[in-house]
């Protein structure tokens, strides 16, 4: 073998090994979720899928209100994502295509909010929610997250990059479109690819959010999937098969959504970082 071929083969083997290691926790999750807890505790451990998935899921459903938590998570993720898409695209469209007094200062303020570490606001945020009577309520998760600087910045960059020529806006004016109609009929269609990325990005983030729901959803019977999972683990820590069944069912929907849009999504992550 020539040296360059040897490097190639070695590199290929390393890449494959790394990928297998990376995927292994997912494989292992399925192994544990489809076997009994006794199988998991065996030495040497069982390495293959078993027939116990349905039984484990059934037990899990008896222990936590999985569907309630799933429903809450879906509600929070869908509503937050829609609100973010609407508010962020509207603001981005306005910043990119309209001149108004204070525009640059306001956009500068928006950028400055990136560097403010928000964890210092957690206690007061909790107190505000208590004042509003939103502790334990899904509103406390949705409303503060309904618009964000990242999305506005991201989509403004997209529009400023030539995705929406000024001539189109002019044409809309000639047709007598007001501001909102121009946004709806000209701005939104031009933003479609950016909306797809921001939508998946927001949905994944909200779905996986844990710290704030843990703080604010004080009633363990009314919570989101991530908090329910940690409860399941805390309360029944010895029954691993059941915990893993719950974990598996909580992970699968998001993985499916991610895999559907993965190509586009990964490309945008890279583009955002290199440009920024």
């Amino acid at each position: 073998m020539s040296p360059s071929l040897r490097v190639k083969v070695f590199g290929g083997v390393l890449m494959a090994l790394g990928a297998i290691l990376t995927i292994f926790p997912f494989y292992w999750l399925v192994v544990m979720a489809t076997n009994t807890t006794a199988d998991i505790y065996k030495t040497p451990p069982k390495l293959t899928f078993g027939p116990e998935l349905v039984a484990n899921i059934t037990t899990m459903l008896e222990r936590i209100d999985f569907f309630g938590a799933l429903l809450n998570t879906v509600i929070v993720a869908v509503v937050t994502t829609l609100l973010v898409l609407f508010f962020d695209s509207l603001a981005a469209f306005t910043f990119a295509k309209y001149q108004f007094p204070g525009r640059n200062v306001l956009f500068g303020i928006l950028l400055a909010t990136f560097v403010i570490p928000m964890q210092m606001a957690a206690i007061p945020q909790f107190l505000i929610m208590a004042k509003l009577g939103w502790v334990g309520d899904l509103k406390a998760l949705i409303i503060p997250a309904a618009a964000n600087a990242f999305g506005i910045f991201w989509m403004r960059q997209y529009l400023s990059g030539g995705a929406l020529p000024d001539e189109l806006l002019e044409a809309a004016r000639m047709d007598g479109c007001g501001f909102l109609r121009t946004y709806w009929h000209v701005g939104l269609p031009a933003l479609r690819p950016a909306l797809a990325f921001l939508g998946i990005f927001t949905f994944i983030g909200v779905w996986n959010d844990y710290v704030w729901p843990l703080i604010i959803l004080v009633d363990p019977r009314h919570t989101t999937l991530q908090v329910a999972l940690s409860l399941l683990k805390g309360l029944y820590s010895s029954d691993y098969a059941v915990i893993m069944a719950g974990t598996l069912v909580a992970v699968v929907p998001l993985l499916v959504i991610f895999l559907l849009g993965a190509r586009h999504f990964i490309k945008n992550v890279a583009a955002g970082a290199v440009k920024g």
Binding site: L90, F100, M118, R173, F179, Y210, L254
Partner: protein, 314 residues
Amino acid sequence: MTDVLPRVDAPAESPATKTSRPWFSFLPQYLAISPFYILFAVFGIYPIFFAAYLALQRWDGIGPMEWAGLENFTFLLTDGEFWDAIINTLVIWVMSTVPMIVLALLVALGLNSAIRFKGVYRLAYFTPNVTSIVAMAIVFGSVFSEEFGIVNALLTAIGLDPVGWLSDPWGIKVTISAMIIWRWVGYNAIIFLAGLQAISPEVIEAAKIDGANAWQTFTKVTLPLLRPVLLFSVLMSAIGGMQVFVEPQILVGVSGGVENAGRTMVLYFYERAFQQNDFGYGAAIAWGIVIVVLLFALINWRLVQRPQRDGAAR
């Protein structure tokens, strides 16, 4: 402002042209951008100032507040547990970031070479980044479990002693770091890959013609050209690494496990503020964390910004 009648715009005028219309004629634009600013004022700015006020109080969240002056801050400076949490956070950051950057670079080089199944690899390496940390911390907890974990089973199978991954102070740090590495290698590899692809092939070709071998080309040409992308990664991991919470919380619990080895800054904040309801001191810890994060990001920024020659000298 005294002009009550808004001027009727000529139809040919572009919306982006500057005009001297009164401010209220821009009301649709202000309304369109207002949601973010309103939310940020209510749930961002106001809480930050409120946190500054709270940090000067003694308060359990229920009874009346008591003025404490700088008491919380002087206590914070002498609070060994807080300093230990800072050290834990920094140690875990180094243990996770250094291998993560190296591995991500290797994966990016692999993805940038003439390798087959690129799409599959990209997907495989990236997927951990979008999966729930809670769920995967539960999985890692069992993979590294001392009673039945597959890692210890492997170690025993090849004749080594099992390791107390979740009962030994260093084992805990290694496990948390392993999980962070697992989660972020693919993400950073994708970013490095984009950086690599932005390097023009002619530059690499020129280095080869000048007689540089693969290693020299990599350290003297590729790495320096990747600096902006590396800077991004290091800064992001510095900011993220200072806020590690979920991994230790799920793996070893709120106190951080044996000898509090997994107690990070944010975990300590959560414990004092929301488990012990010490809101005044919690707010002081939060300010402490913010200062550490900003300082640390600044130090990293300076270090990576400075033109470094060590890569070329080696």
